[in-house]
């Protein structure tokens, strides 16, 4: 075919093999061939178990299974565990056996993920929960807090590092039938306190001065914290300051005149930071662990789409 310019159309468009000029037929055929080749590769990847394959494996790996690495270090350790021999004394057969087992294990793990085993198996769920918590805690567990951080924690929680103090005390008030004026009660209380300091028995003092237990405390040894819970702040402050065979009173509290007789007070040993350092470290880390676990769950809940039944909203 000859056009107006006198050139053959096929010459202007270029022959099949002539790369200097455009050939629409060639373009179309090559485009179609490329598309078909791409579809074939994608199809093989999609419809075969092998998936996309890497041509080589990283030097630090002994195997790469569907893109998952098996480190040489893990392989050496596993071989030594299974054969109980140093790696360089193992045979090629032994190594291949171990490698084969590791490959099998990896395939089964990957299969487990494919079929979502965690959705139905409680053991897998528990293992995953524990594993994720460990991952979250990893940095906290490995972090070495400074002495300043530990000292600050110790100062803020000093009570935790003291042996608990023990008290045996009596909180006495005057019997209502005595109808004492406040002044009389104060004078009698003072007298009773002096008698206790001089060594008189608390039951004897109660009987002599018309006193009775307020009913807030049991007789016998009590932990400091238990006394603190049961007495008012004013009465506990007075009791805490007393040593064995000391008395405090008269103390007016809630309309009554109280007399505190301390029969025994072991304030407990206070450990220094140096003595308690290891315990402080463990407690500090435990608290940090709880903090990061809570923060992680908060983060997960924040980005999750959680829908609750109406009665639990």
């Amino acid at each position: 075919m000859i056009d107006k310019a006198g050139e053959k159309t096929s010459e202007r468009q270029g022959a099949w093999g002539g790369m200097a000029q455009v050939n629409p037929r060639r373009s179309l055929i090559l485009f179609a061939a490329g598309a078909i080749l791409g579809l074939v590769i994608a199809g093989i990847g999609l419809f075969t178990a092998a998936g996309t394959k890497a041509s080589g494996i990283p030097a630090e790996d002994v195997a790469l299974i569907n893109g998952r690495h098996i480190l040489r270090s893990d392989f050496i350790a596993q071989t030594q565990v299974e054969t109980t021999l140093p790696f360089d004394q193992t045979t090629k057969e032994q190594r291949l056996k171990v490698l084969n087992e590791m490959v099998d294990e990896e395939l089964l793990v990957q299969r487990g993920l494919e079929v979502d085993l965690a959705a139905s198996d409680p053991d897998v769920r528990a293992a995953e929960v524990a594993g994720v918590q460990l991952q979250v805690d990893a940095d906290v567990l490995a972090e070495q807090p400074s002495d300043e951080q530990l000292q600050a924690y110790f100062t803020a929680h000093k009570d935790k590092y003291s042996a608990e103090g023990i008290m045996a005390l009596r909180d006495l008030i005057f019997r209502p039938d005595l109808s004492l004026s406040p002044e009389q009660a104060a004078a009698k209380a003072k007298e009773a306190a002096d008698a206790f300091r001089k060594g008189r028995d608390s039951d004897d003092i109660a009987a002599t001065f018309g006193l009775k237990d307020s009913g807030k405390l049991e007789r016998g040894d009590l932990f400091d914290f238990a006394v603190k819970i049961k007495l008012s702040p004013a009465l506990y402050a007075a009791a805490e300051a007393l040593s064995t065979r000391q008395a405090a009173g008269p103390i007016v509290d809630a309309g009554n005149v109280h007399l505190i007789l301390m029969e025994k007070h072991d304030p407990g040993a206070v450990r220094s930071f140096a003595q308690a350092r290891d315990a402080v470290l463990q407690d500090y880390k435990k608290e940090e662990q709880t903090r990061v676990e809570t923060a992680n769950l908060k983060y997960l809940k924040g980005k999750a789409d959680i829908r609750l039944a109406p009665e639990y909203r």
Binding site: R72, S73, P86, Q135, A138, L141, A142, Q144, D278, A279
Partner: protein, 268 residues
């Protein structure tokens, strides 16, 4: 005018010469850089692909690993282990220059496992079989009993001061305290558990009476971070080789003596 024409040509020639020299120098630098990068890449590949316990027998690989590993150790490990690698007893950080190893035998492969996965780092593959329990805090032993156990423990590596306490401590070690379960009946430790040898007078937390009492009373929970997700496989392997070069393998190491000593190591 007559003089300006050859001057222009001369300047142009000079410019061309400068440009050519610059290109040559740049090209040369590029070649040197490419060579260094290629060498680094190939040595790195060789390092990670090699059987770790045979690397000390290869001077080229060891020198390369020491260069890379030394820099990485300084950047990541000296905060705890110190620049001199001698650790810190106050914090329970072990000395890395001797032949005493808490876990395994101090081979490159052993050290690499610890650097990869850490000690009680939270990863499943870390060294975390057991802890030193707080015998006092958990009230498993009384204060007096712990003092006897301490007397016995110290008597294993030095002259006993109180034989009666040592005798009582020995019974507690073998019976009520269940110390033998991790430290073994002869108190030489079990490297699989990270339970130290108590007979060699080497102490992670210090060997005075007070420090040993504290270990038994409060327990110990030493840790080392895992570096698997923070450093490359090449850097971790290099650190392991570097530490190996600066230390000695345990006398119980199954390695051949030739492999246990790095060429160019700082001590024989």
């Amino acid at each position: 005018m007559g003089k300006s024409v050859p001057g222009k040509a001369g300047r142009t020639r000079r410019r061309v010469q400068i440009l050519a020299t610059a290109i040559a120098v740049g090209g040369l630098a590029l070649v040197v850089f490419a060579f260094a990068q290629t060498r680094d890449y190939l040595l790195g590949q060789e390092l990670v692909a090699a059987y770790p316990d045979e690397i000390p027998l290869n001077p080229t690989l060891t020198a390369y690993a020491n260069e890379v590993g030394g820099a990485a150790f300084n950047a990541n490990c000296t905060a705890c282990h110190g620049a001199d690698m001698k650790g810190n007893q106050a914090k329970g950080v072990p000395n890395l220059t001797d032949n005493v190893w808490l876990y395994d035998f101090g081979r490159v492969s052993d050290i690499e496992r610890t650097v990869l996965y850490g000690i009680r780092s939270g990863l499943g593959k870390s060294h975390n079989v057991t802890d030193m329990p707080a015998m006092g805090r958990q009230k498993a032993l009384s204060s007096a009993e712990i003092k006897d156990v301490v007397a016995y423990t110290l008597s294993l590596s030095r002259h006993p001061e109180n034989p009666a306490a040592v005798e009582r401590g020995s019974k507690l070690f073998q019976d009520k305290g269940v110390c033998y379960d991790c430290h073994s009946r002869d108190a030489t430790g079990i490297p699989d558990y990270g339970a130290p040898n108590l007979t060699d007078n080497d102490w992670i937390y210090g060997g005075d009476e007070e420090a040993v009492y504290k270990s038994v009373y409060d327990g110990r929970h030493g840790q080392c971070p895992a570096w698997i997700d923070k450093l490359s496989a090449r850097t971790i392997r290099a650190i392991a080789v570097y530490i190996h070069s600066m230390s000695k393998e345990s006398p119980e190491s199954p390695n051949k003596p030739s492999a246990s000593r790095a060429p160019g190591a700082k001590h024989a």
